[in-house]
């Protein structure tokens, strides 16, 4: 999946997230530029970024910063109590 995120940095909050299937990457890129240009014309300071992730949960895990803290996934700390690797590679 491709995610287009509009982020209000100083407020630390996501304004909007749009999702695209991988085959619509070019559309996502064009939408990202259009949104950035629009915000620039409006004089509104926003971070407009594209991110790739398997799904929204994976996005929250690796780019938590864009989300409110109470939406952050619980850090995987089961390994503290047992030998449980969280991201052992799958068999290729």
């Amino acid at each position: 999946m491709v995610f287009l995120i509009e982020y209000a940095r100083t407020e630390g909050r996501v304004v909007e997230i749009r999702e695209y299937s991988d085959d619509l990457r070019v559309t996502a890129e064009e939408d990202r530029l259009a949104l950035e240009l629009q915000r620039n014309r409006e004089g509104v300071e926003r971070e407009v970024v594209l991110l790739d992730a398997a799904d929204r949960d994976a996005l929250r895990q690796t780019h938590s910063r864009y989300f409110a803290v109470d939406e952050w996934p619980e850090p995987d700390m089961e390994w503290l109590d047992a030998d449980l690797p969280a991201q052992t590679p799958e068999e290729p």
Partner: protein, 221 residues
């Protein structure tokens, strides 16, 4: 249209100066998109070849690029992380394993190991791969390194942009530095025999870290 290095750096100069015209944003977008094919190839190779599922950022944001140009004596054409991927693993052992695997895939990549000498508390291993003349940054973090980095980023967004470079309010800088050192010590202790019960200590450091984030960062989107 392919940009020359001179054109790229002149664009960087304009961005740095703050005189951003619409055409500059379009040119920057085109320059970033020129990394797309290499980026997709790298991400796919990491997934299909190594089995990791990296989260990718095909293009660094305009704000991050401008901030970097202003903060460092670097030209736009020299920025190494226009495109990048991130892998988060559980612990130091798996981090080493991931780095070794990535080096097999990208044997000429440069390793920037920030675990022994953190960058303003930031700990991770970065690899900079050169694929067909395009530099791609691969970040490998443990869960705890990643959590610290996300808190640091969030505080940089909401409190002061210098927080992640060791600046901003002194109390926050102190708390972040201390948390980074404590997490590093705990991670190291957990990686060595004998096995210790560090669960409570880790949770205490993490709770304290998360409490640094202002309330407005705790609402819903």
């Amino acid at each position: 249209m392919a940009f020359s290095k001179t054109q790229i750096d002149k664009l960087g100069d304009r961005l740095k100066a703050g005189s951003v015209e619409e055409q500059d944003l379009r040119d920057l977008d085109e320059y970033r998109r020129s990394f797309g094919t290499v980026y997709e190839g790298v991400r796919s190779a990491i997934h299909l070849g190594l089995g990791y599922l990296p989260t990718g950022r095909p293009a660094k944001t305009t704000q991050s690029i401008v901030a970097k140009l202003r903060r460092e004596s670097i030209r736009l054409s020299q920025i190494q992380d226009i495109a990048g991927c991130r892998i988060v693993v559980v612990d130091l052992e798996h981090q080493d394993e991931a780095v070794r695997s990535l080096m097999l895939l990208f044997p000429h990549a440069k390793i920037d190991d920030r675990r022994e000498e953190p960058s303003h508390g930031y700990r991770a291993v970065h690899l900079i791969g050169d694929v067909n003349g395009k530099l791609i940054e691969l970040q490998v973090r443990t869960v705890l390194q990643h959590l610290w980095a996300q808190v640091s980023e969030k505080l940089s967004d909401m409190v002061h942009p210098d927080v992640k470079y060791g600046g901003g309010p002194a109390a926050i800088a102190h708390e972040l530095a201390e948390a980074s050192m404590n997490l590093a010590a705990l991670e190291y202790a957990l990686s060595q025999p004998p096995v210790i019960d560090a669960s409570r200590a880790v949770h205490e450091v993490v709770s304290r870290l998360l409490r640094l984030i202002p309330d407005s960062g705790k609402g819903s989107e």
